[in-house]
Symmetry: C2
Subunit: 330 residues, 2 copies
C-alpha cells in the first residue's frame, strides 16, 4: 500500500500529525505545536483573535476544491479577519475533523495549502497548534491570531459622515468564479463535476481568474495594515458580499454608506452581491491618502444603511449560510 492510498482511519492520531507537521512553516513562537497549548509573543500586550470554519457542503465541494485549495482558503479567510482589525497575523490554530476514509495524501495537501497561504499572504505566520478529530463531515475550523504592533484596532464602528469609502482588493472576481463552477462544472442534474486542469485551461482569462480567486482568495493583508497606519476610521473584510458587509459596517457606525455605481465596475450585481473576494472595505477621513480606490462616501444615517447612486440597493446583497445553502455536497 502506498502512502497515497493510506487513510487516516488506519493510522494513530500521532501518525496523522507527523504527516502534517513536517509540511508546515517552522514555528516562530516561544512555544509551538506539541504541548497542551502554544505560547505566542504579542509585544504590545494585546492579541487579535478570530475563528472561521469551512464545512463540506455549504462551504465547499470536493469535486471543485483540491486539498491544497481548501488549506489555502481556510487560512486566507481567517488571515483577512485579523488584518481587517489592523493587526499582523502571527499564528493559526487548525482544528481538522475528517472521515476515517480521508486519504493521508489529502491531509498533506491541506497542510501544503495552509503553508502556501501563510507564505503568500502573511509571511512569518505559522500553524502553532491544532486538533485532529474524526467526523462524518470534513470540517476545517481555523483560528487566527494577530499582533497590533502598537496600532489602535480598526473597528466597524468608527465610520463618520464625510469619510471617504475605499475598497482594497477585488470585487466580484470570486463571485464570477462561483458562477463558473455552478454553470460549467455541474452535470445535467446539477451535481458538481471535477475541475480538471484541462477544463481550467479551456476557460477564458476572466473566468479562469475568477475560479482561481474563488478557490484561493488573496486578501491584500499588507495593504490593510497600511490602511490602518494611514488613519482608517473603520475597516472590515468583505467576505459575504459588499452590500451585506457595508450594511454591517454602516449599522455598527450609525451611518449610511453611499456608493457611486460608476466606481464599482461593469458588473454592479456581482460587485455588490458576490462574496468571498476577501478584500477590505475601509473608511478614511476626507483627504486621507490611503490604500484602495474610492467607491463612495459616508453620509449621515438615512432610511437605509446602504445606497447606490443615492437609491436603496434592491439586488442580491450576499450570502447567508442559514438561508442560502442548497443542501448540496459532492
Amino acid at each position: 500500500m502506498t502512502d497515497a492510498e493510506t487513510t487516516v482511519g488506519e493510522l494513530s492520531e500521532g501518525q496523522v500529525l507527523r504527516g502534517i507537521l513536517s509540511r508546515l512553516p517552522a514555528s516562530t513562537a516561544p512555544v509551538g505545536p506539541g504541548d497542551d497549548a502554544a505560547v505566542l509573543a504579542v509585544p504590545d500586550g494585546r492579541v487579535v483573535a478570530t475563528t472561521d470554519t469551512l464545512v463540506h457542503g455549504p462551504d465547499f465541494r470536493l469535486a471543485w476544491s483540491s486539498a491544497v485549495d481548501l488549506g489555502y482558503k481556510s487560512a486566507a479567510v481567517n488571515l483577512a479577519d485579523v488584518a481587517a482589525m489592523g493587526a499582523r497575523p502571527i499564528a493559526l490554530l487548525v482544528a481538522l475533523a475528517m472521515p476515517e476514509s480521508t486519504p493521508l495524501s489529502f491531509v498533506r495537501g491541506l497542510a501544503d495549502g495552509l503553508a502556501e497561504a501563510c507564505a503568500d499572504l502573511a509571511p512569518g505566520c505559522a500553524v502553532e497548534g491544532g486538533d485532529l478529530a474524526v467526523s462524518d463531515t470534513l470540517t476545517i475550523a481555523v483560528t487566527a491570531l494577530g499582533s497590533l504592533d502598537g496600532r489602535e484596532p480598526v473597528r466597524r464602528s468608527g465610520a463618520r459622515a464625510g469619510d471617504a469609502v475605499h475598497i482594497i482588493g477585488e470585487l466580484g472576481v470570486a463571485g464570477r468564479g462561483l458562477d463558473v463552477l455552478f454553470t460549467r462544472f455541474v452535470d445535467a442534474a446539477g451535481a458538481p463535476i471535477l475541475v480538471t486542469p484541462e477544463a481550467r485551461a479551456s476557460l477564458g482569462a476572466e473566468d479562469a481568474e475568477g475560479l482561481d480567486r474563488q478557490l484561493r482568495p488573496h486578501p491584500p493583508i499588507a495593504d490593510a495594515l497600511r490602511a490602518a497606519d494611514a488613519g482608517a476610521t473603520a475597516m472590515m473584510d468583505v467576505s459575504d458580499g459588499l452590500a451585506l458587509d457595508a450594511e454591517r459596517l454602516a449599522d455598527a457606525s450609525g451611518v449610511t454608506i453611499a456608493f457611486d455605481a460608476g466606481a464599482l465596475g461593469d458588473d454592479l450585481a456581482r460587485a455588490l452581491g458576490g462574496g468571498e473576494d476577501h478584500g477590505f472595505l475601509v473608511t478614511y477621513p476626507a483627504g486621507t491618502d490611503g490604500p484602495g480606490r474610492r467607491v463612495g462616501t459616508v453620509v449621515a444615517r438615512g432610511e437605509v444603511a446602504v445606497t447606490v447612486d443615492g437609491r436603496p440597493w434592491t439586488g442580491r446583497t450576499g450570502w447567508d449560510p442559514y438561508r442560502d445553502w442548497d443542501a448540496g455536497r459532492g
Copy 2:
C-alpha cells in the same frame, strides 16, 4: 410555533447569533464579539492558545449529553489545556457547525453550558468570538486563550530525574461515568438510550458522580496555576488517560515516570486507562510543597516511558480517536 420548536434552518445567522449572545457572560475584552476579530489584553505580552473539538459521534451522543452538558464540556476541556501551561484562561472562541434541523433551544442550551463552565472554572473568562456554520454533523470547535501573568510557561519537557510526580484532581471518575453510559444507558442492540433524571437518580453515589464528571468535567484550574507558582517543572492536562498522557510527558522530557500503584487508588485500570478527568499531571523538584497528591517519581529514562511499581504497564493506556471510535452516534 414556540421558540423551543424553532430550528436554526428557519433563521438567519444574525437571529441565531442573537439567541446565543445574550446568554453568555459579558465581554471583558477591549473588543468583544461583533467585529471581524476580538482584541484581548495579555499584559505580559504573551498569549497562550489551544483548540479542541467535540464531534457528534466520536466525542458525544445526544442521548447522553444535553446541550448544556456539551457547552460545559467543550469549554472545560479547553480551559484545562490553557491552565496546564500555567496560564489564566481569558477568552473562548466558539465555532459551531450544526444541522439546519437543530432547535434554537439546543443552541441556547449550548450557550448556557459555556457560560456555566466559565463561571465555575475560570471566572472572568468569556466567549469573545465565534463562528456559526451549517453542517450535517454537529461540531463544536473551541479555542481558548490565556494570560501567563508573568509566569514562565510550564511545558511537558521540563521533568527531571528525582522530581516528584503529583496528580491534581480526579483519576478514573470520568472513566467510571463512561462505563456507566455504555452499560446502563444502551438498549439490547447497544444503541444509546436517553439519560433521564429518573434514571440518574437511581444510580449509586459513585456511578452518579462518575456520570456527572464524564458529562461535565471539572478541571481544577486554580490549583494548576498554584502548581505553576509553586515551581512545577512540567505539567499537562490528563485527558486521554493517565498512562498515555504520562508517556507523552516522559517522552517530551526524556525521562521515565515511575508510578506507585498504591497511590493510584483502588481501581488501577481505570486510573491509568480511563480518560477525560481533566485533572493535571505535575512534576515538582523534590521537596516542593505544591498542589496535588504524590503518585510517583521521575527517574532516568529506562526502557519504557512509564512504569507502575517498577514494571511496564500492559493494561489499557487511554483513548485514541483514530483507533478507538466504534462509529456509533445516537
